[in-house]
């Protein structure tokens, strides 16, 4: 099933064109990697899908409710001094239900703890968010997105400023989650990402879409050596051709 259908999308900040005629379909079992240079429009596309930025031209058709879209923002390292526990961060993820006079309901708390359990962070529920490591904090933010039972989860640079070990763990977790929900990751960590993603969208103003099975076939043709730089530039072109010799 198609969850999201983007057609002829254009977007500018003041006079700078950021997205140009973007077309993209996201299926319900997809693990989509969105890659591309800085300022290429990756985060802008994500924010348009979420509705954090207003549509200027083109359409984004969603076959799901807005609150079934989970979101893990970039820069989870901001606001580290804030006095808030991991559990409270996850509790933010609940869809605003009936107003209570004070505090959180038992259901909300047990659901939040279940989300933390799912990402392996249950034991850290009452820790201050700033005392966790970057990777642990990222898991908490994934748990917050899980709290609303999303059909699709959008993650903006989830492994920026996390060590390699932590990055791998995050992607393992996403692969696990991908069994039941659609995952869309904006990222720079190309080499790791390509082991997990099913499809790749390269954005540099315009979008080029690749099914990863096809990319890997072409890459292995070259020789045993995988050149990340070359791969990145290849993904930016519509045609993939890898016969560079080192």
């Amino acid at each position: 099933m198609d969850l999201i259908n983007i057609k002829n999308l254009f977007f500018k900040y003041q006079k700078t064109e950021v997205l140009e005629n973007v077309n993209l379909t996201i299926k319900d079992d997809d693990f989509l990697a969105i890659i591309g240079p800085n300022g290429g429009g990756k985060s802008t596309l994500l924010k348009l899908i979420l509705g954090l930025l207003p549509l200027q031209s083109g359409t984004i058709e969603k076959n799901i409710e807005n609150n079934q879209v989970g979101y893990v923002p970039q820069n989870t390292n901001l606001n580290i001094d804030f006095p808030i526990t991991a559990l409270e961060v996850v509790l933010m993820g609940h869809i605003s239900s009936k107003k209570r006079l004070f505090g959180y309901s038992k259901d909300e708390i047990s659901c939040a703890i279940e989300s933390l359990n799912q990402v392996g962070m249950k034991d850290f529920a009452n820790k201050k968010i700033g005392d966790l490591s970057g990777g642990q904090r990222q898991r908490v933010f994934i748990a917050r997105a899980l709290c609303s039972n999303p059909k699709i989860m959008l993650l903006d640079e989830p492994t920026a400023s996390i060590d390699v070990q932590g990055q791998q763990e995050i992607y393992e977790l996403l692969r696990e989650l991908n069994k039941s929900i659609c995952i869309v990751v904006v990222s720079h960590d190309l080499s790791i990402l390509l082991n997990y993603a099913k499809n790749v969208a390269h954005i540099n103003r315009s979008l080029v879409y690749h099914s990863l099975a096809e990319v890997q076939k072409n890459v292995t043709l070259a020789d045993d050596h995988l050149c990340e730089v070359e791969l990145l530039s290849a993904l930016g072109k519509t045609q993939i051709c890898c016969n560079h010799v080192h």
Binding site: L52, Y71, P83, T85, L91, M92, G103, R144
Partner: protein, 266 residues
């Protein structure tokens, strides 16, 4: 030393100090975590415009300052929500123009020789029973709002983008936090004055941040610390005959220095 408690002006000063400390602990926490200390400073100084107008019109000063400060808070909220990157210039303008309005209106008031210093630096010894009633009502108002909207205020303060995705009206709560700060600042003017109020909002909170894991516990710890500083500052000011506002702040500064030194040695 307990014989000083017989004087009713000392009793009033102590009660006012505690009431203001409670408000300063709660609001100071919101101000510090939202990083709007200087926005609040701007509101505090522009409140002087309200004081001047109130003196000119012959209406209660606290009332004039409240109305003016709340209006300033709303204007600042509207402007900063539209253009966040110009915050510092806007604060500077509001800050100075509010004070200018106040001074002009005091000048225009015939035969009135206002003690400007008592508003700038506070005179908690001169707190009246009406002031105490006003402060009590204000505390009740602030506590009820913060308790009722705790979840929303927490979400907006921690991650406003995510809060808006969850259907929380971020602009409303941002404005609400600024209005609450304006009310708190006006109440604190009597005790520590509008120049020193920023220290009462930030020092206890900054200290509490090192101990608190939750926003609510940070508010409670800040209120307790602010109360301790206010009472010891009052005692110091009585025995050494120095300004109450300044001695309250200096007690807080010394406590901050000691705690930071102990932490640093560890």
């Amino acid at each position: 030393m307990f014989e000083i408690l017989q004087y009713s002006f000392i009793q009033n000063a102590l009660i006012a100090g505690i009431l203001i400390s409670i408000a300063a602990g709660i609001i100071g926490t919101l101000v510090v975590v939202n990083k709007i200390t200087f926005l609040t400073g701007g509101i505090a100084h522009s409140a002087y415009g309200g004081i001047g107008i109130a003196i000119f019109l012959g209406i209660p000063v606290l009332f004039g300052a409240t109305v003016f400060a709340v209006l300033t808070a709303i204007i600042i909220a509207i402007i900063t929500l539209k253009n966040r990157s110009r915050i510092d210039a806007i604060i500077g303008m509001m800050w100075a123009s509010g004070m200018a309005i106040g001074i002009i209106f005091v000048d225009l008031t015939p035969g009135y020789n206002v003690d400007l210093m008592s508003y700038l630096f506070g005179s908690i010894i001169a707190v009246s029973s009406e002031d105490i009633i006003y402060m009590t009502l204000l505390d009740i108002f602030i506590i009820s709002i913060v308790v009722y909207f705790y979840k929303e205020i927490l979400s907006v303060s921690y991650d406003s983008e995510f809060a808006s995705l969850r259907g929380i009206n971020v602009k409303f709560f941002y404005t609400l936090i600024l209005i609450l700060s304006a009310l708190c600042v006006v109440a604190a003017i009597k005790a520590v004055g509008l120049i020193l109020v920023i220290a009462l909002l930030t020092i206890p909170t900054y200290l509490a941040e090192t101990f608190a894991t939750k926003l609510s516990s940070m508010m409670i710890i800040s209120s307790i610390l602010a109360t301790m500083f206010t009472i010891s500052g009052l005692v110091v000011s009585y025995f050494y005959d120095i300004s109450s506002g300044a001695s309250i702040i200096m007690v807080a500064v010394v406590a901050l220095g000691v705690v930071k030194l102990i932490k640093y040695k560890k």
